[in-house]
Subunit: 399 residues, 2 copies
Amino acid sequence: MINIALLGFGVVGSGTAEVLTENKSIIEKRLGCEYNIKYILDLRDFPDSPFADCIVHDINTILEDKEVSIVAEMMGGSHPAYDFTKACLMAGKSVVTSNKEVVSTFGVELCALARKNGVRYLFEASVGGGIPIIRPLINDLSSNKVNRISGILNGTTNYILTSMRDKGVSFADALATAQKLGYAEANPSADVDGIDAARKTVILAALASGKLVDPKTIYTEGITKITLDEVALAATLGYTIKLIGHTEVTEDGLVALVSPRMVPSTNPLCRIDDVFNGVLVNANMVGEVMFYGPGAGKLPTASAVVADIIDIIANRDSEPKPIVWEQATAADVCDFSAYSCKRMLIFSGNSLPECAPEGTFGKTDKLCAVVTDNTLSEADVDALTSELGDKLVSIYRVL
Amino acid sequence: MINIALLGFGVVGSGTAEVLTENKSIIEKRLGCEYNIKYILDLRDFPDSPFADCIVHDINTILEDKEVSIVAEMMGGSHPAYDFTKACLMAGKSVVTSNKEVVSTFGVELCALARKNGVRYLFEASVGGGIPIIRPLINDLSSNKVNRISGILNGTTNYILTSMRDKGVSFADALATAQKLGYAEANPSADVDGIDAARKTVILAALASGKLVDPKTIYTEGITKITLDEVALAATLGYTIKLIGHTEVTEDGLVALVSPRMVPSTNPLCRIDDVFNGVLVNANMVGEVMFYGPGAGKLPTASAVVADIIDIIANRDSEPKPIVWEQATAADVCDFSAYSCKRMLIFSGNSLPECAPEGTFGKTDKLCAVVTDNTLSEADVDALTSELGDKLVSIYRVL
């Protein structure tokens, strides 16, 4: 009998209890082994829940119980989630988590601590919700060198951008609807400012490179400035605007950034709409593969948490295969001002200023744009911005 | 040092040698262990190849060499691939393969033989080429009960259907181009008649249900009868025609079939074009996830073969986790005449006959159609066909 403790009985925590209960017989049959939810740590009591008897309020109850070998942390936020995770690993318990904030900030230390204690720290649910992406990157693409990963990693912003494109509603109105539907928080900053996507991007970057970058240090731009006029202009040129977490492993180091991008209609990410997420991986042997599915939500995210629990149980008699990450130093990271990609420069009116770079031209009644080749660096763009003057409305990176 | 033997030095075999060589240093670093391609079995000699010295012509050289612990079978066809696989497993060697014909026909016996001999039989490359799909179904969706899998599983037919839709070329012309580009064989039957997709469908069905159906017994319809008029009509109703391998795990048993289907524009499979493949999985906790990528090709398929080799090396000190399949009996399989889904009934002219079922109507200059609800069974459709008479052009299943 494997005893499991859950930390947090919110959306993902209660979903995890539900998956473990609902699919118990098929999971136990697959594992050839029984399991039990022994504790659920939460500040609150849940007298009406079928798990009422499992609720505990003191982490020490779990830490001190030698019968508990697996802990699922689904508390959110850095503290006390990080502290509890550390304590569990040091107590010889494997930990699985959906907490991207903890993984992206403390992943190096926690993976090392798991290794040192002969246990595992898994985080499939921290990126892409229910979409299998972490384990496929580690296992299935193990024969490849990963070159690039581009992802729609945040369901809230993708819902807003899809509404803007398909229903013609403004950012503010789409956000209000997202809040009404429970897709966005009252304080939507972590989503709409790209902070959540940045955390997921550095996790993907670490899986591609072995180097974890502090998510606070990467270029992060949200979706708050995108206008309906720009969305319409993008469509005339065959693009759709998506919030893209992007990472590249280059000879000059790691690139990682989050920004709205113009995604061409030929790119499979272009059709990932509403609250769905998609992660497009370019690797040196397989070429491009994409993983698509629900990027958030109670049961999908719990499905990934439980997949990690099953992985730990299934491999309990084997030597743990460690995830080895190092904290990225300045030398590991590309000089961002040298990062080059295609750009779309958007201008008011319907003709380009004389000094605009060459490229594909498009326009609507109100705006016009040129899509450049992929040689413009961030530094070039900064220089251009001052040169191009008042007519320049915005500059988008192109995927 | 792990010694590997390759069976077959054709497209996938030479690709596998290339992946193992090109990415040797990063793979060995990940594994913490070195490997070596010791033998390559082929009827031919390859005097100019860097692997010339590895070429052998007698399977016994490999079977009798105790140093060889992993064999990658990439010969294609049932014989001698099946016989060699069996001999390798019985000699205590793990086998990985890209051979869907062998897996779909002999999978039950070969998985059992691997179990019995304490080795592994893996076949990630047998479905979806380079797309990780087999291992994710086993590992990542292990917390789920799989309800349905629908896949675009054959790149050749998808290329032809995409050409018909986007370039307006007929089936015959698109096939000729596919043959010129090397996407289709001189004898294209295995592709265009759905035989290849049927093999992959029963493998996916077995992963979902544990029961392997003989691929020759499932309903299999190819793309040879699809006309440009039907493609145009589908578009006016918001559908695109794709060859879909489809399986459902129902209370009445397993459903598995291959046929062209009308895929609505809201379905993520709708935008999987050209030679790409996509597999859409519906499972009880995660909902819908999709895996997308190159479904064939030298290096992508080899990438999956090598992922299996890496899996075996990485887990060489652990108890092998067996794949347990049973051969499906008649009792395991749904009565196909009772299989119900939405249908599109296509008629000549631009009005429906009086006895046509209710549904959404659409038309072009030449044809008209009605899309029904999902209650029409195969038996109902057979009955309707005789009733509706001469004006009925075709009936498509709708995804």
